[in-house]
Symmetry: C2
Subunit: 363 residues, 2 copies
Amino acid sequence: MAISERKKKILAAVVEEYIRTAEPVGSKAIAQTAGLGCSSATIRNELAELVNMGYLEQPHTSAGRVPTPMGYRMYVNELMQMQKLSLEETEEINQRLNTKLQELDDTISQVSRLASQLTDYPALALTAQSAVTIKRFDIIYVDANTFIIVAMMSNNTVKNKLVRLPVSVNEGLMKKLSALFNANFTGISEDQITPLLINSTERAADDTMGITSVIASFAIEILSEADKPMAFVTGENRLLNQPEYRDPDKAHKLMSYLSTGGHILPPADNMAGSEEVRVLIGPENVAEELKDSSVVIASYDAGDNTRGLIGVVGPTRMDYSAVAAKLSFLAAGLSRRLGGGEAPVEGMHNKLIIKGDDPIEHR
Amino acid sequence: MAISERKKKILAAVVEEYIRTAEPVGSKAIAQTAGLGCSSATIRNELAELVNMGYLEQPHTSAGRVPTPMGYRMYVNELMQMQKLSLEETEEINQRLNTKLQELDDTISQVSRLASQLTDYPALALTAQSAVTIKRFDIIYVDANTFIIVAMMSNNTVKNKLVRLPVSVNEGLMKKLSALFNANFTGISEDQITPLLINSTERAADDTMGITSVIASFAIEILSEADKPMAFVTGENRLLNQPEYRDPDKAHKLMSYLSTGGHILPPADNMAGSEEVRVLIGPENVAEELKDSSVVIASYDAGDNTRGLIGVVGPTRMDYSAVAAKLSFLAAGLSRRLGGGEAPVEGMHNKLIIKGDDPIEHR
DNA sequence: GTTGGCACTCTTTCATTTCGAGTGCTAATA
DNA sequence: TATTAGCACTCGAAATGAAAGAGTGCCAAC
């Protein structure tokens, strides 16, 4: 059954009013605000039909109408127009994005924080999951008991580790090991680092002190760490601003679910290539804990052909339009910085300001 | 005015019962549980005096008694006996402390998480604030546009940065700069890195491309970063478990105050040397937002003669005894790992397990 | 100094009433 | 046929009031 133009307008009006006030919306209010030239009685008839069709529901007989998930879905898909951000907003976001992008992790966690601030909902950010390998090893001899392992990854981050041992090492061994690791351990994945490989390297290096295996462990560690995506959840407490979470138990349940991390968001591959913002409304969420909340997700290009996610969680009565606009803009800004396009380089004109791990290989 | 032995017992009983139930405690309940051989009428007389003395108060005329901050203070100072942890608890904590102490920051944030889990209150952890310097520079030439700066700090952590430039560099320059920075920039504080020093280094290195200043910026950045302590707040949502924070507004206020970080805890130097657990009850807190909450703080030895903090925030009706015991144990465990004593070294018997940045110089 | 007893106070709880927003329906109208 | 005015009706929210109960303070007796 098709939905008439007027019904659409009314539905939109209900959704928007309800989003604004969190109170069931009555026929009178619509007649006044929505500006279609008809009386509240007409609206009532239409509303009744919209209830029949499943787009709206009544909390009780003598109350106004509230959108159902299906109603929100219709609104998001067809009726809503993505809010435009004001100049001030875009500027503020850009500015916030520009300031101190230190470590990649820090950047992402900052972005999560920013998303939460902008939307006033809890936000989460997931780093991209990608098959990282080590591109280059350097082993720095410090003193007889100490050396530093430096590993440059394929995504151009650098990991290091200071190792202190009860045995004596010397610069020659370090050099030898550097060369061997660069030859044998670069460009491979975690599970390609086998005991066999370690043993043969150990023999080749004349290493009788187990140093090879220490370095290999480090390689395994950072590879496995780089593999799994990280989740940053921020602003959980903002949930308490929402009337639907004034019940502490409800709030607590969702908050503790959130704080366990990023199971919440669908795998990033699902979003690959999509520049769109995705909306999951109430029961559309898989997780039981989210069945009466909504999630809005944008994906960003994290470079290296991978995508990460920024998401926001709130009641189904969420301001989809504003949130979508903000997340989309945020994701785009982040993509610009992390992803393809011109690889940012150290800005030497900024006298003493350094931008952290920004530099990412162009691909 | 001295406080009689019996009054002490009664006060302790009130505090403990109130901590347990969060309900005002009546004379009858005390007569039954506290096991002093006297009737509820006697207790009533004593209670009335305790109210006069300021240790207890009545929410209203016909209610039981509730401890005042002064009452809690008396309890904490004189009446409470620190709870002993059960064997299982100590074992669990130790185990959790042992698993993957990666980066120092991660360790501290994990400990914060652990503290929150153990106590079921929000927890925060502060890293130590210390005058860190750089001990050693290594500048690694990668390719004509790329190099890596590696800086080993006086607290034996290692920082690195990948720099990508639009100009060409060569290995010779890198070597020269390495030597110069090791000579001129080690062992000094952030504000000793003056434009003068940078300029003279630049000239000495024949650096016409501003690379010296890039490296100097990095030095400044990591020094200033290492200077300021970092705060990790976890488990804010656990506040909602507490009846005194069932009011969402109250909870929200405190939670958002907490999430702004570590202004909450007094500076760590105050705690220097003290192995004690410190308790701040209600109005004893300086921050307005904490005036009716309590904070329990333990300090840990972070090595290098510095101390960090672990704290827990909750209602004044906090289980001080249990919390103090847990925090104290946790701090001790952390101190053992980070602080003085035998410097931990890479355990090579653990075949493939590496403990991260653990190794700390003995001093 | 301690105790039993008892009147008193104040909150909590529950039922009842009132109020009002909003509906659904009917009949009149364009 | 679609729209509208009017009106009775429903149901929740807020207000009111009565009853219950916990706990006290105090007094007189021990």
